[in-house]
């Protein structure tokens, strides 16, 4: 019999405690190699859409902040178009949609300054509520964790992704808290009763 796809994905290994050296060297004090850390700035004056900030802390199972986590986000532009490979056409040329931040070494707080994304279709054509995709790595995390952040000031009730979650009492872990005008807080809990929903997607 012929073989199916011959290759298997390379196994993940933890990002480790020194992920900053490779991914955010300027943040870690290694200056002069790259002009800026990739993904540090998401928005310029030309970017269309409502300016928002998203900040939070990743907590371990003891309630201790992770001070060595690296967070990446990926989101659509204000019209709901992804910057690249979106079959619905080009998006806002002043918005790349990708951000990367390290948790603060002292507090564990991370923060993105971005714009509020538009709605994006589910494969069957129904619209998903505006959301931001998250990818979290750190020492002690063996494979990057995938989750999503939704907005408390949007109608998430018919979202085709959220409504697939069996335990609807866990859905609030995916919805940010509004803390001010355009300011959102999205804490991530790796364990415990408030454990954030993570996805295999």
């Amino acid at each position: 019999m012929q073989r199916l796809d011959p290759l298997k994905e390379s196994p993940s290994q933890t990002a480790g405690p020194y992920v900053h050296i490779g991914c955010v060297p300027n943040f870690s004090g290694i200056t002069g190699v790259y002009p800026a850390d990739p993904g540090a700035q998401m928005v310029t004056k030309a970017t269309q859409g409502e300016r928002i900030s998203v900040e939070g802390v990743v907590f371990d199972g003891t309630g201790t902040p992770l001070k060595d986590a690296l967070i990446e986000i990926w989101q659509a532009d204000a019209a709901g178009i992804y910057a690249l490979r979106d079959p619905r056409g080009p998006g806002d040329p002043a918005f790349a949609g990708w951000g990367r931040k390290a948790a603060d070494f002292e507090t564990g707080l991370w923060r993105f300054d971005t714009i509020k994304p538009g709605a994006v279709p589910f494969p069957d054509g129904r619209m998903m509520a505006p959301h931001i995709s998250f990818w979290i790595v750190a020492r002690g995390i063996n494979i990057g964790l995938q989750t999503r952040m939704y907005f408390p000031d949007e109608d998430n009730s018919a979202d085709p992704w959220l409504t697939r979650i069996e335990h609807q009492n866990r859905v609030p872990t995916l919805i940010a808290e509004k803390t001010g005008d355009g300011a959102y807080r999205f804490d991530i809990h790796l364990q415990g009763p408030q454990e954030t929903v993570f996805f295999d997607v």
Binding site: P11, S12, Y18, R85
Partner: protein, 241 residues
Amino acid sequence: MSDGAFFPRDRSRHPPAYTPDYKTSVVRSPQKALISMPTTLSEETGPVFGHDMLGPLDNDLIQNFAKPGEMAIGQRLIVHGRVLDETGRGVPGVLLEFWQANAGGRYRHKKESYLAPLDDNFGGCGRTITDDQGGYRFRTIKPGAYPWPNRVNDWRPAHIHFSIFGSGFAQRLITQMYFEGDPLIWRCPIVGTIPDRDGIESLIAPLDTNNTIPMDARAYKFDIVLRGRRSTMFENRMEGN
């Protein structure tokens, strides 16, 4: 070009979240089951980086942090390979970022406390973007092994960390490259988080004498495999190929 859904991730190939021999994972591992979802546009799209972001020394760790006319200390290496997907196709335009300890096993990092000295000419980071065939290469020095606080006497085998972007955010991957013949590989609790031997072997780069530069640098070959994706041809989508 395939722009469709990603093949489901074969989780049996990857370390589970909870791996008590790697102690830090104990309180950092989600305890509830991951919720399985189909990929959507949010996962099938992803950031892509242009070659114009790269500086001329980004792929040369021997020189990119060194003072003019000086070089990092250590065994000179070329690391090269291809980024492929599970269908065997090379993946072009992939941003690879790498970081590593210096020749003595010391990282340039404020949380690092190992007594081995820093090398003033070695920063430890580099990056490149794969070519049309998915190929990449960079120059560095061989990182040293080093002890780490886990069990009383754990040592990491020499390794280089890799961060890999694919064509979609669902392919995002961080892994580590090890070196052929290192006896510490099979004693390392982080390597040991990988469930099977074949998976571990897939992260061990062989010495590549054909690509060694005589009287200059040895070569190691390290291929990386990302998740494959389906063609959209027969899927019920609004648009596609």
